[in-house]
């Protein structure tokens, strides 16, 4: 059943693509509306809610004091995880983390981590004894397409507005976490044979492979990931990388607009 619907849908998407159209009337490089709210969760030290079309994602930042790894005595740590909770769509089931949840968490994690936006040495409290661990949790409440970009946006926005609860840890006065870069993600999905950005849930159902590109300052690449069945050519990649440059810069501006 699922397959038949999806084949019909695939056909319709191909027809639309041939006419340079999308199923919801958007342009190929046009995103749905994005609403970014920060500081919206009482018990999180940093938080963001992203309403991206009908997709809703929360991210929360918590800190802990821990011992550093023996081989990196002056460095704190960063951890980013995601849960595609069963609340988010009928298709998500309860149970141990699905490969989809794991991939989402790890792709967002790499984009933030590899951008070097957090200076791990700045998280040291006492060298060799105590460092800060920064934990970002992504909670997907509604998946109506493009949870990757929404999650990445929520994560960096939560991080950039996070306050280190230093008083609670007896290490001085609370202070804003230093975040030096603004990595954002732009995901491309092959729909009807061509790539579009910000696929909605129908386009994802009837589409093929997707490419997640995370860029930060100066348009540098920090994380790439191809997911799902399908291939792309180097020329196709060059085209979407250029689109991503503009798109990620816009998203970074949106994040920066929320900073103090």
């Amino acid at each position: 059943m699922v397959e038949i619907v999806s084949n019909l849908l695939r056909q319709e998407l191909a027809n639309l693509a041939a006419a340079d159209k999308r199923i919801d009337g958007r342009g190929r490089w046009e995103s749905r509306d994005i609403l970014l709210e920060t500081d919206c969760l009482y018990n999180a030290e940093g938080s963001a809610k992203v309403t991206w079309g009908d997709t809703i994602v929360y991210a929360g930042v918590k800190f802990e004091v821990r011992a550093p790894w023996p081989d990196r005595p002056t460095q704190g740590s960063l951890m980013c995880g995601a849960e595609l909770r069963p609340v988010a769509a009928l298709k998500y089931e309860a149970g141990p983390p699905s490969p989809e949840s794991i991939e989402l968490g790890r792709v967002v994690d790499r984009g933030i981590r590899e951008s070097g936006c957090i200076d791990m040495d700045s998280l040291c409290i006492i060298p060799g004894e105590k460092v800060l661990g920064v934990m970002i949790d992504i909670h997907v409440l509604s998946d109506q397409g493009n949870v990757f970009d929404a999650s990445a946006l929520a994560a960096i926005a939560a991080l950039k507005t996070a306050i280190v609860p230093a008083e609670r840890f007896d290490i001085g006065e609370d202070y804003p976490l230093q975040v030096q870069k603004t990595p954002t993600m732009c995901t491309f999905t092959r729909v009807g044979g061509r790539y579009v950005i910000d696929a909605n849930v129908e386009e994802e159902t009837g589409g093929e492979e997707r490419v997640h590109i995370t860029l930060a300052e100066e348009g540098h690449l920090h994380s790439l990931q191809k997911g799902l069945k399908g291939t792309l050519t180097p020329a196709e990649f060059a085209e979407i990388l250029e689109v991503a440059q503009n798109r990620c810069a816009e998203l970074a501006e949106l994040v920066k607009s929320k900073e103090a």
Binding site: N43, E64, R85, P86, A94
Partner: protein, 244 residues
């Protein structure tokens, strides 16, 4: 309960630390229909607690062994987001959330007309995004709005509400400090129309008289929260039907 004597919870003027009277609730805000993908949904802010609930179904119950021949089962998860509490919670089900999920599902089965949907299941997902004492009650309040929003027939709503005891004094709707340092907590799930009890837990120390006063406070508050539930459903109905 943490026990009496550690911390002062009542002010010299007889009011509580946050200025509430003994029988005064925290503010409650409710919105229905907040999750587009769900068949029904609700968002509840109760004090600093925030809960979101999605309902999916009724749908065929599987795996087969959870099916009931004569009724629907409520397949419910109460889950606290990792960032919902002061200390981060590791993701995944724990013993506390499993117990709350069980008794919350049983409370809802008491009001949903489950006989109408044999061999079905109704999925109820309660997500606590922010926790500040009383999350199981907030979850119940949210779930019954989400069920109503999904058009699932119920013989009454359920309202989650708690009273308890601090400094030997019965108070309505404990906040976090009162929960941590108080002497008793009595969370209930109440059918506001009939005053039946569908959900009941309690821990701490209460005499029979104190228990009775807690129950009285809870009944009163249930009716207030019920009004807010119905307002939310009314607004949702109006907006669906081209209203405001």
């Amino acid at each position: 309960m943490g026990g009496y004597g550690d911390v002062q919870l009542l002010r010299d003027d007889g009011l509580r630390l946050d200025g509430r009277k003994l029988d005064e609730m925290r503010e409650v805000q409710i919105e229905a229909g907040v999750l587009p993908a769900a068949d029904g949904s609700a968002w509840v802010k109760h004090g600093l607690n925030v809960a979101v609930c999605a309902v999916y179904g009724p749908m065929e119950a599987h795996p087969r062994k959870i099916q009931r021949q004569d009724r629907a089962v409520i397949d419910l998860r109460y889950n606290m987001a990792p960032f919902s509490t002061s200390d981060r919670i590791r993701p995944g089900f724990n013993r506390r959330s499993r117990e709350i999920s069980k008794v919350t599902a049983e409370a809802l089965e008491s009001v949903v007309l489950v006989e109408r949907y044999p061999r079905s299941k109704i999925r109820v997902e309660i997500e606590i995004l922010s926790a500040e004492a009383g999350t199981r009650c907030v979850g119940i309040t949210a779930a019954s709005v989400a069920l109503a929003d999904a058009g699932i027939p119920m013989r009454d709503m359920i309202v989650g509400v708690a009273s308890g005891k601090v400094e030997d004094t019965v108070v309505l709707d404990l906040d976090k400090a009162e929960d941590n340092y108080g002497q008793a907590d009595l969370p209930m799930g109440i059918l506001p129309t009939t005053e039946e009890i569908a959900f009941l837990q309690m821990d701490g120390d209460l005499s029979v008289e104190e228990f009775n006063l807690c129950m009285e406070y809870n009944m009163k508050a249930a009716k207030e929260i019920h009004e807010i539930q119905m307002d939310a459903l009314r607004r949702r109905y109006e907006s669906k039907n081209g209203g405001a």
